[in-house]
């Protein structure tokens, strides 16, 4: 069992600025935790503090009930996979994988066995005698992972391990990583900025921004129930569309007017959601969010039965991208680009107009000032 607990962890490189601030997280055994967030938000820093490569400015790091703030990296029992692989260029693949074990003075035979076993798992047995210079990117990646898994560490730390691979290899490695986690059953902490990786690999995702944790949740929950505008915009690709609108009350119904106060483009909300909007007084401005895949053309909206409750936004298509399995249309709304993903059968060309309907069930509303998700369900 290995439990990692971060308590109010802070990191300051200089006196004013926090790279990471008040980071709290309990990582359970066998978890696959993913850190995401924009560049410079402190993901790597946090990971490196756990590994012991960076000093912890404040807070406590507990590993298995032991306070580890000041432990040397080598005594923490972590294994790290670096973004650039960090393979020792002068050693063969075998020696690279065996290095950590050799240092720990493990018997030769045992090393040999472990290395070969790991190599087999990763299908790199035939490469053992090569040097890293003679490997392709994907092979290097696997060697880096191999060097980590021979060790049976308390946890794997991986910092954007797939970022250097091309799309195809990445997809393949993603699948293998997933398998690996199931087979080894070791805790993994994983940093990435790739949406797909975050959504598909982790058991929990930690979304960070400017050194502060925004939300910690399981992937699908994060997608469906983002805590705030930042998380909503960050998770999901292509990302959510946002626009301003005004709240208007009509009985127990609630109307959102897009754009100006007297706009005719309205969305009607009923029930619980409408209730939640009670906190706003009439004509208050909020931010509306809708994902590209939740925008439909009339027929589908009619099929879904919500064509009445939503606006038929008639828009001129600015760009059209045929993606094979679907078609993406982009149009302008309140000065920014709105995207919609429609069935490939849609044939609207650039310059033509199209009427679009938002699925009111899939709409998000954010407070204009706190940027919080009004519909956020705690603990979901």
């Amino acid at each position: 069992m290995s439990e990692i607990t971060l308590k109010n962890i802070c990191k300051q490189y200089d006196d004013e600025h926090y790279a990471v601030k008040d980071f709290n997280l309990d990582i359970h055994d066998k978890e696959f935790v993913i850190f995401v967030g924009p560049s410079g938000c402190g993901k790597s820093t946090t990971l490196r503090m756990i590994a012991g490569l960076e000093d912890i400015s404040d807070g406590e790091l507990w590993i298995d009930d032991e306070l580890c703030n000041y432990l040397e990296p080598r005594d923490r029992g972590m294994s790290m996979v670096f973004q650039n692989y960090a393979l020792y260029p002068n050693m063969t693949v075998y020696d690279n994988m065996a290095y950590a074990l050799k240092i720990r003075k493990m018997p030769k035979a045992e090393i040999d066995e472990k290395v070969h076993q790991a190599a087999k798992t990763l299908e790199i047995e035939h490469l053992l005698k090569r040097r890293p210079g003679a490997l392709s990117g994907g092979q290097k990646q696997r060697v880096a992972i191999g060097s980590a898994i021979v060790r049976k560490p308390k946890a794997f730390l991986m910092d954007e391990p797939l970022s250097n691979l091309d799309a195809k290899l990445r997809a393949q490695m993603r699948i293998e990583l997933s398998k690996l986690h199931r087979e080894l059953g070791t805790t993994i902490i994983y940093v990435t900025h790739d949406q797909t990786e975050a959504m598909t690999l982790g058991t929990r995702i930690v979304v960070m921004k400017d050194g502060i944790v925004q939300q910690v949740a399981e992937p699908q929950k994060l997608y469906n129930n983002p805590a705030n505008l930042f998380v909503a915009g960050f998770v999901g690709s292509p990302s959510m569309n946002f626009c301003d609108c005004y709240v208007e009350r009509e009985g127990d119904r609630c109307t959102l007017r897009l754009g100006s106060r007297d706009s005719e483009r309205k969305i009607y909300l009923d029930g619980v959601k409408a209730g939640m909007l009670n906190m706003f007084h009439a004509d208050e401005q909020v931010t509306l969010g809708i994902r590209p895949e939740d925008i439909y053309e009339y027929e589908e909206a009619a099929a879904g039965g919500f064509e009445k409750n939503t606006i038929g936004m008639v828009k001129k298509v600015e760009t059209r991208e045929m993606l094979g399995a679907e078609v993406a249309l982009y149009f302008e709304e309140q000065g920014s680009t709105f995207g919609a993903r429609l069935k490939p059968e849609n044939n609207t060309q650039v310059g033509e107009e199209v009427a679009l309907y938002f699925d009111p069930d899939k709409i998000y509303v954010f407070d204009k000032i706190t940027e919080e998700n009004i519909f956020y369900k705690e603990g979901m």
């Binding site: 490196r48 490569l53 990296p73 670096f82 960090a86």
Partner: protein
Amino acid sequence: MKTKKGMNVTPYFYLIPSMLVFAVFLFYPFFKTIYLSLYKTNKLGEAKIFVGLGNYTELLTSASFRNSLKVTMIFVVIVVIGGMLLGLLTAVLCNKAFPGIRVFSTAYALPMAIASSSAAMIFQIMLHPAVGIVNKLLGLDINWLNDPNTALYCVAILTAWLNSGINFLYFSAGLGNIDESLYERASVDGANGIQKFFSLTLPGLSPIMFYTLVVNIIQAFQSFGQIKILTEGGPSESTNVIVYSIYRDAFFNYRFGSASAQSVILFVIIMLITLVMFRIEKKGVSY
């Protein structure tokens, strides 16, 4: 400048300035040297009697020249190893940032700014048995430069010191090129400082080390000024490296033919060593 066939002559224009200088001041005299090495020469260095390979056979059978070869080899080995070790030590000391690093790195690189003759004059005083600071500091009474057992080492160490400056620069650059994340990985893997040095730092330096080695060897073979001032090849020919021997034969002993032959031999030796090293590098240093 492109013709139909795609043949291109412009590249050669860019080589003209260099090649012209090389041709006049290196190739021509060197061919002349080869020519002279086949002759006995008069006091003015003019070819007089054709002896074919006579000068070479004479040299290769002469005890004095064999001694020169031996001395040169020892000298080169000490200079190269000493200079590289000192350069490596100083580079490693200045590898991590700490207060005052600029001052120290300047200090370590300074020897390269000093002419070998100037350095030799300073060492001459320092190593003087009676008034020199070295004996005084160490409380010894050793006649460093006049004892055949120590003279070669003194000259070699001086040369190593001179070379250490540029080696420091080479190695600093090399250390800077080693990926920091390798060290991080090693510390997560559990390596301590010494293990890191031997399994990361040294191998990581190997490409630049190779380059430095080649350049150092070529330079060590050609060091001359300090020997002329400090020992004049003595005592008992114990510091009579080939280049000094060439100088003496050419400028002192009226034997230009022999000096030329020695030059050619020296050239061949350096060439061979360099070629061998490149061969080894191809096989060994795969970084």
